[in-house]
């Protein structure tokens, strides 16, 4: 934190531009009704009014940031190395979610090799062990991957912890309730 940082000024300018874009471009192009509408000779509030109010909040915030707080003493300094790490975390999470989504159907496709009557994941999504496949592999990858990223190495311990946590979550969410669906079984 320092008063040397120009983060408030940059942030303020960004939000002033965003709010102007929101109020004058996005809202008019992406809402069906205006700020006030005349319907059957009665004036009513249109769908554009509320988002315009949000835009006004953003614009006011941006202006105050530029005018009153650009020299504030407690401005954060942005650590780009940290941002890079979080970007890697997000990539790891995205891969895990994709594994969660597609591991089940992929396992069924694998099991179908050489079968005369092919299985369909959609019909098996309430049948163990198929219904756990995606959550198990995706969840294990997510937990073990994140632990390994922090510790800087992949260990058997982190994989075992991830497996235990995922199995515990299956026990909590799936076993006692028939009507709850683990990811991704509500989509497929």
């Amino acid at each position: 934190m320092s008063s040397e940082s120009r983060s408030n000024l940059i942030l303020g300018i960004c939000f002033i531009l965003f709010s102007l874009l929101l109020i004058f471009v996005w809202i008019p192009l992406d809402t069906d009704s205006g700020i006030l509408e005349r319907v059957r000779r009665q004036v009513t509030i249109g769908d554009a009014l509320a988002p315009t109010l949000a835009g006004v909040f953003l614009l006011l915030g941006g202006i105050i940031l530029v005018v009153a707080e650009r020299n504030a003493a407690d401005q954060p300094e942005i650590d780009t190395v940290n941002l890079g790490f979080v970007a890697m975390v997000i990539v790891m999470l995205a891969i895990s979610v994709l594994v969660m989504r597609y591991a089940g159907p992929a396992a069924v496709a694998l099991a179908n090799i050489g079968r005369e009557t092919p299985l369909e994941y959609r019909l098996l999504r309430d049948t163990a062990p198929w219904k756990y496949t995606g959550f198990f592999f995706g969840g294990t990858l997510m937990i073990a991957g994140l632990i390994s990223m922090i510790e800087g190495r992949v260990t058997i311990k982190s994989i075992l912890i991830a497996i235990a946590a995922v199995v515990a979550m299956i026990a909590v969410y799936d076993l006692p309730f028939d009507d709850l669906l683990l990811p991704p079984n509500g989509d497929v």
Binding site: M1, S19, D30, D47, P51, I64, D79, L93, A165, M169
Partner: protein, 534 residues
């Protein structure tokens, strides 16, 4: 029936209701057992990061209704269970906030500010004790006020707050939150603006879901849980992971928190904390009685008022608010816990909830039938019995029973949670993350919800990076829909008067206060910036 007879009938409805089983010939009423079960479940889910009371309520409500059926007899057991969950989760919610810096609910966010630094200083158990004492004291105070004042306050709120006033009150609460939370009114306004914007995406009255960019994924809008848990929990997890990684890079090891120093809570501590608990309990109770404003605002105001008092009185060696002051936890927990009791006044008299838990009480009443939250609830008819009023006093009794459980089992449970500090954070945080994503999926059952949550997590992380509080975002997101709805109704009710916020005296006062609080804090921060420069 006289007022006292109504109260007594409510108490008897709980204790002499249908019997579940008997112990040594003493019948055990089903409502009591349900309150107890709900309370235990509430503490468990509240203390589990990523879970929270509303999720437990959402999952259990259909199960309870299928067990008890759609008869008026089901009202007290089902709603008693939900009240048990609400009370248990309130104290349980402070546990992950204090131990892991991951608030399970928006209300617990302010608890992290001092609770987590205390944990880092080795004072986790003491922080939990402070949270428990404050939470239960605030809750009990609120329930007493509820019992005594409910009918009068219900009539008062209904009499003075019409639609224009309610709209102005919502604008005032948003402006206030923007101005006071986080120390920067500009960033508070931006955070509020973002929350409103996200709340307004794909909502509205037109056939086309506004601002959805023609995308089918956005056409349903953002579910409440994705925005709130994404910004508050996932964002905090990202920040913690990044901080841990940086720490590991610089020191070669990941630090762990160990208990050190005195963990007990002595009478002198209680004496020191009591003024903060008392003030916050009054603030929380007053806010809880206003419709549409929930415990998050109470926690924020309680914290701010407590901070102002603390700055004047603290000695040089005491930690500041936000650096591990027990008074900070006391001010927050007493305020947010004292909302739930008083909150039942607008819930029962107007049908407007102040927090997510109250939404489920309304939903339960609506699903079972025989109890319609609205003005008729507090009608003291003398010639005939008003069964809704008896149920209302039955619910108040359920709250008191849950409070007694809170004072006893709650404390023991929270103390036992201290053991969780030994779990290494680099292991726990990824598990919390998956638990949060799973909980959201179980509620929403679509992968889009997981992507939205991760997206809001990134937003929450970036907000923390630029020192912008995520709390105004969350409150604006929750209140956005209500604000638009009440503005539309007020506009229609005033015959299309575009100046309805300024032509009604109380509404005009609220609007003047809204502008005043922003101008005042902006001028203050400018003066501070100039001071820092010179």
């Amino acid at each position: 029936m006289s007022a006292l007879e109504y109260i007594w009938s409510g108490v008897l409805a709980v204790f002499l209701g249908p019997e579940l089983f008997s112990v040594l010939g003493v019948p055990i009423p089903v409502t009591l057992v349900m309150i107890f079960a709900g309370f235990l479940l509430g503490i468990a889910v509240g203390a589990t990061p990523g879970l929270a009371g509303p999720i437990a309520m959402a999952i259990s409500l259909p199960i309870l209704i299928s067990i008890f059926g759609y008869t008026p007899d089901a009202l007290l057991p089902v709603m008693g269970f939900l009240i048990g969950v609400m009370k248990g989760a309130t104290i349980g919610g402070a546990v992950p906030a204090i131990l892991f810096n991951t608030p399970g609910t928006p209300d617990a966010y302010m608890t992290t500010l001092d609770g987590y630094p205390m944990t880092r200083n080795g004072q986790a158990k003491k922080a939990l004790r402070v949270a428990h004492l404050s939470s239960v004291s605030g809750d009990t105070f609120s329930d007493i006020v509820l019992f005594v004042c409910a009918p009068f306050l219900a009539l008062l709120v209904e009499g003075y707050l019409d639609l224009p006033e309610k709209t102005a009150l919502l604008i005032l609460s948003l402006s206030f939150i923007a101005a006071v939370v986080g120390g920067s009114p500009a960033k508070g306004l931006i955070s509020t603006g973002l929350g409103l914007l996200v709340a307004f995406i794909a909502t509205g009255e037109d056939f086309y879901p506004r601002l959805s960019l023609d995308s089918p994924a956005l056409a349903q809008g953002f579910p409440l849980a994705t925005a709130i848990l994404g910004v508050l929990i996932v964002g905090a997890v990202f920040k913690e992971l990044a901080d841990m990684w940086r720490e590991k890079r610089s020191s070669g090891a990941v630090s762990a928190n160990h208990d050190s120093g005195e963990q007990g809570l002595h009478f002198s501590d209680v004496q020191r904390l009591f003024p903060y608990i008392g003030r916050s309990a009054v603030i929380g109770t007053a806010i809880g009685a206003l419709p549409g404003i929930g415990s998050t605002l109470a926690a924020t105001i309680g914290y701010t008022v407590g901070k102002a008092r603390y700055q004047k009185r603290k000695s040089a060696e005491d930690p500041d608010f936000g650096k591990g002051a027990p008074e900070g936890i006391a001010a927050t927990e007493a305020a947010n816990s004292s909302v739930s009791g008083a909150n039942l006044i607008p819930v029962l008299s107007l049908g407007i909830p102040g927090n997510a838990a109250a939404v489920f009480l309304i939903l339960a009443a609506d699903s079972i039938g025989g109890f319609n939250p609205g003005p008729s609830v507090f009608r003291f008819t003398t010639e005939s019995v008003n069964p809704e009023l008896v149920i209302a006093f039955g619910l108040f009794t359920a709250m008191f029973i849950a409070n007694i459980l809170n004072w006893t089992i709650g404390g023991v449970f929270m103390r036992s949670m201290g053991v969780m500090t030994r779990v290494p954070k680099q292991i726990l945080l990824p598990i919390v993350l998956l638990l949060t994503l799973t909980a959201i999926y179980v509620q929403e059952t679509r992968m889009d919800a997981i992507w939205f949550t991760l997206g809001f997590g990134v937003l929450g992380y970036l907000m923390r990076v630029v020192a912008m509080s995520p709390l105004p975002f969350v409150i604006a997101f929750i209140l956005g829909g209500k604000l638009e709805e009440s503005a539309r109704q007020a506009f229609a009710a005033t015959g299309g008067d575009p100046y309805f916020l300024f032509t009604h005296p109380i509404a005009a006062l609220f609007m003047a206060l809204s502008v005043g609080v922003i101008v005042f804090t902006a001028r203050n921060s400018r003066a501070k910036a100039t001071e820092a420069r010179t």
